[in-house]
Amino acid sequence: MGAGTVVGMTRNDTTRGAGSGGNAVEVRGLVKHFGATKALDGVDLDVREGTVLGVLGPNGAGKTTLVRCLSTLLRPDAGTARVAGYDVVAQPRQLRRVIGLTGQYASVDEKLSGFENLYMIGRLLDLSRKDARRRGEEMLERFSLTEAAKRPAGQYSGGMRRRLDLAASMIGRPAVLYLDEPTTGLDPRTRNEVWEEVQRMVAEGSTVLLTTQYMEEAEQLASELTVIDRGQVIAGGRVDELKAKVGGRTLQIRPADRGELHRMVGEVARAQLDGIAGATADEAEGVVNVPIISDEQLTAVVALLGSRGFAISGISTHLPSLDEVFLAVTGQKASSSAPEQDAADTDALQEVAA
């Protein structure tokens, strides 16, 4: 740790609410118009220090506008926002010292190599040449980019570029990190890598504001959620609270023999396992769907079917989709979730919605 201490970084620890419990981000009544459209229509939210807040919402809900306001890229029309105690409008310079931003589109110089990108950012953050080099190498290592260090970023795959972007955002050890749909368009393996990194950063004390369209991502990373739609907060709270509202997961069991679908449903119903009701057979898919809310229930169902001698060829669990979350918290469908994107997305959590 000590070796990596960044000299000259004014991460003014004295000014950050010492200890935990304080809010790293406080947003009150934030409004941003683009012409006639209200991208943000009075958003209130807090992110407690050292935690991850997931901002969940469909395309066009205002997530990116929110992040751009909080990172001084856009000036809000009304309302206030403080990040690490600094006002986004009145103290942009100080604020830029404590934030990092990774957007949907990688913001690295494509002509420069991975290392040169990170070195440049280190120098722009006032690290000495030596520290900038060391920190750059450290981050490349951490994001498994060491082998690609000398290649131009333009030749990186989408996942590598996103990782480089994350590394670039973290060079200055920002107190608050914004991740704007960090895994949109990534394959599942790369997505998992990004998730692991984010979890690690939080473990090291960063505060993260994460926007996402995916309930699964929110559940993986965030401790609290804010659901926004049409520029307004429509629900918020701890992830488990929201989940309780929405319902738990769906366990899908695929018998080796499709003919056994209904016998399996019957067995599950007859066994009257604790808290389990409403198992159904999906003939088109050839699976049995069982709503569950805990891992114990999962184990119990699988054990039951095993003990009854069923041959099972596949088991999976699915979280509620964003649409189902919306349905549960508002009673209506998400306003503008892009259908083509949902259709193109083969992500497991979309299957249930289909």
Partner: protein, 274 residues
């Protein structure tokens, strides 16, 4: 409750967070290094500075030289041409800064710079510094080629340096025009197209390639006030002797005027975009 602990910095003076001069220079250095690395990654982007002077000098000397000064007397035309080309290439190279700025805004990298604790102007200044370096490279190649073909300077090396300096100063003032274009137009291609529309008449309707005395009256009137004519004449007289005061002052006046008009516009456009 947390508001109490977090509102502390708000009371700090507004100057807190300002970027000091040394930090600013360091940032400009890091960004200039970026621009140099971009050139290294894409060496063809140096064509305009390395190959163009050679092509121009060979082409014009041997295509026009014979008819301008008489067959076998191409060297005389060479002496006329090189100072003019020096004036012209500042403009050609300054153009690249416009496409570069435009490109930056299209990519996410500008967003990254804008969320960092650096003066926003340092991105522009770093570009200008590197472009001036490119101008000097182009000028060195042009002069080297010129000397190889028989160019002779009848004044002192100091005069030659003054001519180089004058072209660089004028070229730097033009960069603001191209930065403004780069910030105003949508694509790098549009910037290039628009730049050509401005460049062509200015370059050929000037004393760069031919003396203006034999041009029709209306054109002569245009060339007289064309800043490129002034710069070409100034460079010519500085390198080959002749009255320098008028053309040098006119060139400097143009450079100052262009900068005064376009730099604030470009900076305010840049601020608005950032």
């Amino acid at each position: 409750m947390s508001a109490a602990t977090l509102s502390a910095p708000a009371a700090a003076p507004a100057r807190e967070g300002r970027i000091g001069l040394r930090a600013n220079l360091r940032h400009i250095g890091a960004l200039a290094r970026r621009n140099l690395l971009q050139i290294k990654a894409d060496p063809e982007s140096m064509f305009d500075a390395v190959i163009m002077p050679i092509i121009f000098i060979l082409l014009f000397t041997y295509v026009f030289g014979g008819s301008m000064a008489g067959k076998g007397h191409e060297k005389e035309y060479l002496n006329y041409l090189v100072p003019g080309l020096m004036a012209m290439q500042g403009m050609n190279i300054a153009m690249a800064v416009g496409t570069g700025v435009n490109d930056d805004f299209k990519k996410g990298v500008m967003d990254r710079f804008r969320t960092m604790p650096i003066a926003r102007s340092s991105v522009l200044i770093a570009k200008i510094v590197v472009e001036i370096g490119r101008m000097l490279v182009a000028t060195a190649i042009l002069l080297g080629m010129g000397f190889a073909l028989g160019l002779s300077i009848t004044t002192t090396p100091l005069h030659l340096l003054a001519a180089v300096a004058l072209s660089v100063v004028f070229g730097a003032s033009l960069m603001w025009v191209f930065i403004l274009l780069g910030l105003s137009l949508k694509t790098p291609q549009a910037v290039q197209g628009m730049a050509m529309i401005i460049l062509m008449p200015l370059q050929f309707g000037s004393s760069i390639f031919a003396p203006t005395a034999k041009m029709p009256g209306w054109l002569e009137g245009f060339t007289k006030y064309n800043p490129l004519s002034n710069l070409a004449d100034a460079a010519r007289h500085l390198m080959r002797g002749g009255p320098v005061a008028h053309s040098v002052w006119m060139t400097l006046a143009w450079a100052v005027a262009i900068t005064l008009v376009t730099a604030p516009l470009a900076v305010s456009k840049f601020r608005k975009k950032t």
